[in-house]
Symmetry: C2
Subunit: 332 residues, 2 copies
């Protein structure tokens, strides 16, 4: 099996961050000592800074979303591991605006704890801090899962919308409220036909048969609760789309944002063909996406899989989506 192209599995993330800082020097600064990336330019109208972060291995998230119209700072951890609370604290202090900091946190235990400790430390420095928890993963939406739904693909859409809202001058409580509404109306479902390569082993994290997929896979290489038949694409997207629609139950004509997201090794050909099927199923319910992203936005190293995200927005959210953004990975 193929290993990663790297000097060592220990060095990969820090080498990559140095390379990222070289390439995107116009957009961000990287503080290697404290482990965060800071946007060079954010709107003067922004009263609250947006700070996110999480384990590495999900690139372009979050480093690729730091810049004009989106995040003020991002704190990357090691591969699939939460950033240290000190990184989040230092990044938040460096980014803080007059009305404080909003933490955008994907729902994983480590991230919740580390962002939580950082928030307590910020409070002691009189820096107001609130949190939006992203928990869009439909596959972990079950009574037996005490930690709740995981945060995944929807994070990109919500960070984009919150970025524009922050530029619009919304206050801390207003941004938190908007983020919570968006997160509550967002669901994602992911499948994989091959695992990512485990960095320290250079071997696939798990093995699947020729026509098998993990149905409801996470973005950290954890297996799903169910292994299913891959089958033809139309039947697979039928099932996934129907489950997303059933979970959110949008009225016909709702304002929908969709994301067809590659988890690493899936080709653009497949992603665009997947979008075509997703649109077809939505159409059957009198639904169509108002805005759509197709590409690798939240990955799981080199996993061969993809996720579908459905976000039921308000029409008033669309100007936030359409507002200009200029980051390494998202720009319009």
């Amino acid at each position: 099996m193929a290993r990663y192209f790297e000097n060592s599995s220990d060095a990969l993330v820090s080498d990559a961050l140095e390379g990222f800082a070289l390439v995107h020097d116009d957009l961000i600064t990287f503080d290697p000592q404290h482990g965060f990336l800071l946007a060079r330019h954010t709107a003067p109208s922004r009263r609250v800074a947006l700070v996110s972060g999480g384990g590495a291995g999900h690139e372009p998230m979050h480093a690729g979303y730091v810049g004009r119209g989106m995040l003020d700072a991002a704190c990357p951890g090691r591969v699939f591991a939460s950033p240290h609370n000190r990184q989040v604290y230092e990044g938040s202090r460096a980014a803080a605006r007059p009305e404080g900091v909003l933490h955008i946190v994907k729902n994983y235990t480590g991230d919740r704890i580390n962002f939580g400790i950082a928030a307590e430390r910020l409070a002691r420095c009189d820096i107001p801090c609130a949190r939006v928890l992203i928990s869009d993963d439909l596959a972990s939406d079950a009574d037996g899962i005490a930690s709740g739904r995981r945060g995944t693909g929807g994070t990109v859409l919500i960070e984009k919308l919150l970025g524009a809202a922050a530029d619009d001058g919304l206050g801390l409580a207003e941004l938190q409220e908007l983020g919570e509404r968006l997160s509550a109306r967002c669901r994602t479902l992911a499948v994989a036909s091959a695992a990512h390569t485990a960095p320290t082993l250079g071997e696939p994290a798990f093995h699947l048969g020729a026509d098998e997929i993990e149905y409801g896979v996470g973005i950290h290489g954890e297996r799903a609760s169910a292994t299913a038949r891959q089958g033809p694409l139309d039947a697979l997207i039928d099932r996934m789309s129907e489950e997303l629609i059933a979970a959110l139950d949008p009225e016909p004509g709702s304002t929908l944002l969709t994301l067809v997201n590659g988890l690493g090794a899936v080709t653009p050909l497949e992603l665009y063909a997947i979008h075509r099927e997703f649109s077809r199923v939505l159409g059957r319910h009198g639904l169509s996406p108002a805005r759509t992203l197709v590409g690798d936005y939240v990955t799981a190293l080199d996993m061969r899989g993809f996720s579908l995200t459905l976000l039921v927005a308000d029409p008033s959210d669309l100007p936030f989506y359409d507002a200009p953004v200029h980051t390494a990975a998202l720009r319009w």
Copy 2:
């Protein structure tokens, strides 16, 4: 082994093009009957249309580069197969501007033949047509290879520069001359640690050992002339970069454009770490990139590999690079 997510290997490309046209309806129109994509908006100042194309499986190339500031039309073939000359002819006719059409052709026999027949047909309709042949692949630069160097990663940089030059109002001969100068001063070298999945088989196109790479691999799954040890990243990039520098022999302080390009399944972490090493070797020669792209720009389905491109430009080319571009895959 994992199969592609598709309805059938026959349907994948056409399904993907339909999906692409749904997502990027603001940028392009897709003519399924004649098999080409056409930019909705190009600059009125453009006297010559830029038309490219080639086999599918290299996405985002070329469909992702149709739009403002870049290509007027693209003609996609089947996976790794040249478009039919009729597609090129129809796409060129639809895109043609007052001073004709420039074909940007990667150096492969099928593409040369089909673009050539299309050019003859255009001449019979009194549509002037010239060609820029892209042949940047250093690994196929050998006396024994009669077909000459293959065209690969450099195509993206040259299509970007020519797009801006066309917007600037350059005529057909001037654009051809610029393209030929750029192609002559551009070299690319690619390696892979795992083959792409062959679409009809659902199996890797070739097999490599745990620490083996194909050194000088092409973008159609053809094996390289040499299999080498992968080893640590710094030594690999040392070797690749030194060979590119030796081939072009740029003066210290030259105006360089670089591209670190993923071939499919390589992660952004790796690509940015690769850029860091590439910059280090360039620095040893008194060189540094004036402009840099890092990402998946010219792929070979889900191949686990990457390419390095070095283009020795004139300082006067930089405004063409920096000029705005708005396509599916490249925008600033």
